[in-house]
Structures are given as C-alpha cells and as structure tokens.
Amino acid sequence: MRPMLGRLVHDKVALVAALYLLAVVVVALVAPLIVDASLMRSNLRLRHLPPLHVDHGWWYVLGGDALGRSMLARLVVAARTTLAISFATVALSLVIGAAIGLVAGLSNAWWSTAIMRAIDVLMSIPSLLLAMVVLFVIGASPLVVVMILTVTRIPIFARTARSQALEIRERPFVSASRVMGASSLHLLVRHMAPLALPTLFAVAALEFAQVMLAESTLTFLGIGVQPPDVTWGLMVSDGQRYLATAWWSALWPGLVIASIALAATILGNWFQVANDPVLRARSARKSRAPAVESKVASNA
C-alpha cells in the first residue's frame, strides 16, 4: 500500500486527479449540509442569470438556470445522484463480473464456457439500445438505471477477470498448490483473487468514467433519470434549449462530467501502470531510437 501511495505522489498528474475526485466525493457527501433548500426553489427574478457575477451571493457565481435556481447548488445536489448511481453500478458489476470471470477462468466445466458465451452476446449488444428498451418498458428510476447499467458493465469485468484467471492458473505456484492438495476454492481465494484485483480495480476506475458518461447520455436523451431527481446529464438536457442565449446552463454540468470522467480515466491508467513492473519501467524510459529493450541482468 505504501509504495503505491509513494508512486502516486510522484506522478503529479495522477495525484491531482485523485485529489480532485476525492474533493468531489466529499462535496457530494456533505451536499445536504451546505445547500440550503431555498437555493433549490424557483426564483424567476434570477432566471438565466449570467455567471461570473457575485452580486447575488457566491452561490450564483456560475449563474442561474431557466427557473432561476443556482447552478452551483444544483450541480452539488446532482453530484449525489450521479455519483451514487455510478459508484453503485461499478461496485455491483465488479463483484458480480469478477466472481463470474474468476470461476469461469479456473474451471473447465461446460457451464463456464456457456456463461462466457452469454457474456459475449451481451457485450455485442450496443448498451444504449439495451438500456433504452429496458427503461422504455419498465420506466426510469435511479434503481432501474443502476440495474441496467450494471448488466451492461458486467461483461467487461467478467472478461478481464477470466483472462486474468487463465493467465494466473498457468503459473507454477498454482500447480504447486494443486500438488499440495488445494481445493479450487483455496486457489480462488488465496491466489486468483489477490492477483487479479489490481487489474480489476484499474478497470473499475475506467468503468466509473464510462458509467458516468453512459448515465449522462441516457438522461440527456430523456430516457434516464427523471425529475425531480437531478443528475448532471439532466442539467445539460435542460440547458440545451437555451444554448444560444444562456450557454452556461449546458456548459457547467457537461464540464463537470467531462472533468470527473477524465480524472477517473487518468487514475485508472495510472493504477494499471503502477501495478505492473514491466509497464512501469517502460513508461519511465525516454528513447530517441526505436525503443529496443536490453536485458539488464540482476544479480545471480
């Protein structure tokens, strides 16, 4: 754990990304404490208030929306819903997908191949289409959104977990454990899962970004979360109508989404490199000629 933190501090970009995400999460958590209910009520005097003026208080520094509510306040409140949906989705799909993938990778039974086939099929259906069908029929609510997004994200975790498991089980220490009489459960818990987790976490960070984008897109198109729940995607959709006159209504929410997705992606990439010694060495190198790896032999 500690070497990882050390590496994080070293990489300035990843550090900034991590701190930014942390700040966003904190803000989302304390939202009810800092956002006064009055900010969320319509105030038609302030509708389409331009940003960067503080005459009406700090809360209106980002402007007012179509109903005169504080953009900043709405952004903060929307953070809760958006982040909650995204975290829940990623957590669920990570657990379910990893379990499926690891077990499928370790066993050679017919059903594990069948499950992976089903996963492949799921992966080839455009997620948006699937989500649209389900949300159309069942009706949109944050819970349904989480469920359908989870279903579309499970394949990625399952595939990653399975390919990790396939690679790990070929390693001699797994054979050594088998020779000691280890059960499949022991192999899974003691060897597979701990070695696969770092990659899975890296994928989780990247997926967090993707889930956020997917949720925002769904909501933007009108088939995701509905009012009175508010997410950033919904805010962009509301602001689209006033693009020419009140551009800030659409800009800020989208910027927030983009920046968080960016931070999560940067962190995910960093995590992947930080965990793999080979990638670490390669990324630290700066070459002039086409990179040619020489063998630096360690002490015998």
């Binding site: 009489g181 022991h186 070695l195 700066k286």
Partner: protein, 552 residues
Amino acid sequence: MLSKTPLLEIDNLVVDFETPGGMFNAVRGISLCLEQGGSHAIIGESGSGKSVTASAIMSLIDTPPGHVRGGDIRFQGHSILSMPRAERRRLYGRHIAMVFQDPAAHLNPVYPVGWQIAEVCRIHGRPASEAKRSAIALMDRVGIGDAARRYHAFPHQFSGGQRQRIMIAMAMALRPELLIADEPTTALDVTVQAQILELIRELQQENGSALLLITHDLGVAADIARTVSVMRRGEFVEEGTVADVFGAPRHSYTRKLLEGRTSSRPQVTTADAELLLDVKDVSIDYGAVRAVSDVSLQLRHNEVLCVVGESGSGKSTIANAILRLREITSGSICYRGADIHKLGRAELGAYHRAVQAVFQDPFGSLNPRMSVFDIICEPWSIQRSVLPKGEWRQRSVELMESVGLTAGDLGKYPSEFSGGQRQRIAIARALALQSEIIVCDEAVSALDMTVQGQIISLLQEVRARMGVALLFITHDLTLVRNFADRVIVMKAGAIVEQGSTEDVFSNPKHGYTRTLLAACPVPDPVVQRERRDAAKRASGGHPAARASARGA
C-alpha cells in the same frame, strides 16, 4: 612491415545502465582483438555483461537507460561509435551480422520467413528478384528442405532448430566479414545444438567470416572457438586460446566454471529399498497426439532417479501425471501399492502429503504477493492435520535454515530474492509436509551454472538428511552423472534406456543414448574435434543439412 588491422577491435569499452537502484556498471573496460576469419568466444554467466558487449557492437543498446561511457569499438579500423547512423546501418547485415538466442521471438511472426531472409538483401540494394533467389538458395544450404515452397511459410510453422537455421541464413546472406552469435543454441535441444554449431562452423569456413560467440556453455565454446575470454561482472578475468584456458586455467572463477556442477559421489541405494512408486505401462494422450506411450518405471525409498530427454520426450508429462496434474489414458500409477487414481478423499490427502514438487521457473514458482512465510506455511494451511498453527513459525524457521536461508528472510517477498534463492524457498516449501518423494521438474535448468551446482548440492544434502526420494527430470545429461542412482532416457514418449548411472554412462545400449552422450559438448577442444570427426565419418558429407531435412 605493414601491420594488419584487426577486423574487430574493442578498446576499453565501458557501458553503464541507469537502474532504480543507481548506476549499474555492466561493462567495465574490456578490450578485445579479433582477426579476419578468427573465432572467439566470450564466456560468462548472466549479469557478466557479455550480451551487453554484443549489443554495443550492433548499436542495439537502448539509450537511455544504457550509456556507452568510454572506450571505442573499431571495425576494419573505423570507429563504430563515432560513425553517423546512416553509415552504421550500411555495416549491419552486410559486413557485421548477428544471430540471436531465441529465434521464435526474433522472427517477425506476420511475415513469411523467405521474405525476411530476402529483406537483408533488399535493404542493402539488391533487386527483389535476386534477393528472393538468394533466400531460397540460402534456405536450402542451411538445410530447410523444399526451400522454394517453404519460402512462403511463417515462423510458427517451423521447429526451434529450423527457426535458428533461418536466422543463420539471414545473417550469412551477404557473406559478412563478422558474425556475432549470442547464445545461438541455448534454447535448443542438445542434439539439435550440435547440428547448429556444425552449421555455423561450416558457413564460417566457407565464407571466411570471423565469429564472435557469446555463451555460458564451456563445451560450446570449446567446440567452435579458437580463443576465449572469460567474463565476470563486466570484466575479462582470463583470456587465451581454448587449449590454454581450459587446459590450465589460472583464475579461480574459470576453475570454478570448469569444475562442473556435481562433484560428490552419489549414495548407492540397494535394490531392497522399499518400493514407493510403481508406474506400469502408462500412456498419456494429448488430444490426438500420444505424448507418453507405455512407460514403466519404479522409484524406491531414498533413491535419486533421473529422467533425461529432450523436448517432446514426454518426461514432464509423466511427471505431471505422477503429481496428478494430468490425467492418464491407460496404465496405472501406484503409490505403496495403491492406485493413485482410485484413492478416497483421505488417502488422496495422504498422497499429496507424500509427493511434492519443485518446478523449473523460479520466478513463477512463488506467488509474488505472498510473503515467504505465507508461502512456506501454505502447505500446512491446506493440509491442516500436519502441523498445528502454533508451531508454524518455529518449523518455518527450521526449514529456511535447512535450505541455507535465514529466519529474517521470512518477512520478505519473492521479488527480493535471486533465482537460486527462490528455488531454495521452493525446496523448503516442498519439504514442509515431510514428503517421501520430491519431483524436480527441470528444477535447475533456469539457473546459472554455478548456482545450479549449489542447488544440486542442496538436493543431495536434503536427500541424505531427510531420506527423501528424488525424481529428477532434466534435459541435461551432464548434470546427472554424479548425482543420480539410476537413469531413464526418454525419446518421443517412450523409454529407450534404463539402468544404473554407471551402466548407462559407460555402456549405453541404445543409439539415442549414445547420440545424446556424444552431443553434450565438453570443455575440451581435443575431445570435441574427435567427436566431430567421428560424426562426419558416420554420416558423410553435410550432417548439418541432412539432419534438418528430417525436421530438426
């Protein structure tokens, strides 16, 4: 008197590498002179800097992290290091060529082999049609049968030996004045190795090329080179003709290398010792291929049984079957009279306690995220009845000390240890359940020569002290002589010879055993020349090419 410019001159070369742990001095000022048509070998173990030297001549050192800090390399009097890149490119392939260690990785998998050979000609200005013709002729010369058709085949469609022949063809295409061969035969079977070395020698003599050979194998050096340098930690510790250096070594390191890996007399076990393992007529199919056919062997208490064979012989397959890592198709494997495939749950547990393994790859044998303590204790956490948890700490310390490590090492992680040390940890783990049999599957093959000797000594010690029987799988016959009680030689899935070590070595009955014994090069140039002459007399003409036509 005009002094003749040496073909290759290395003048006090110094190469450093930036590593996370500081500056690593890979090469610390070596000097070398190679005449036209000469053949010189640089001998060293891993970390000696020998490959870095070869890379420096070919400008293949990644800069950074590698830096040539001092000295010069001159080819036909011109400094390579000061040359502009375009001029250097004109040299490589045309006047200086290189053959690498792992031909599978060094051939581009998506292009046909003939195209890759012809590429050398094309790069240096020959028209495409002429290049193709040369490539086909070369493939024929190095012994790839049906060259015109196989020109279009891809690397994965050839065997290891054939791939190396292709690399040699690529290197010799433009008849370079200097051929550098970096461990050219290390990845190959020993019989194939002999043929490849012969091929290199023939081509060298035909073209009048000079040869710079990089190797860790003294026998290989004795076979091909006239002069030799022994390299250790970036410096030459001894130089001279092969006869001088091998016949009368002056430096202690050279002596240590020549000593060989096993020196003590083996323990002789009488035939009355208890029969532990009885393998009867076992065949193992791998899909449609029969990997092992009708193999029978027996392992007795405290015996060292070595199974020797090349790749594809089935030796590892039968070992995996004994370890129950693989199913058998027919026959039976009995432990103390009980068929291991018909055991109940409790008896199966007992079998796993009785038979343990040490594998080839020291880096893959230990889970990198487990501490050494966890690794040693894993057997006890699986087989709970062997040792109560309270005694784990004490017993693990005892085990570590018995393999030459310390109690303080228990808290460390595998990445902090060298290859040899990791194998020691693997051996300690194998001893944790007080097994009767330890299967060593190429357990020392991935280690340096000197380290191999240490691990073999450790195994001998373990055997003497703890009364375990060892089933030792290896491809290296020379390892076996002072170590095994009995030897089994396998080829293509079947046993071709079986007997006590003395019998097999002094009186080999099967032709393959004789070939195997003859093919292992020994560090004595006189013996090597005699063997070569004998082989030539036996087959007449080009033994190298003929063997390849059979697909070697």
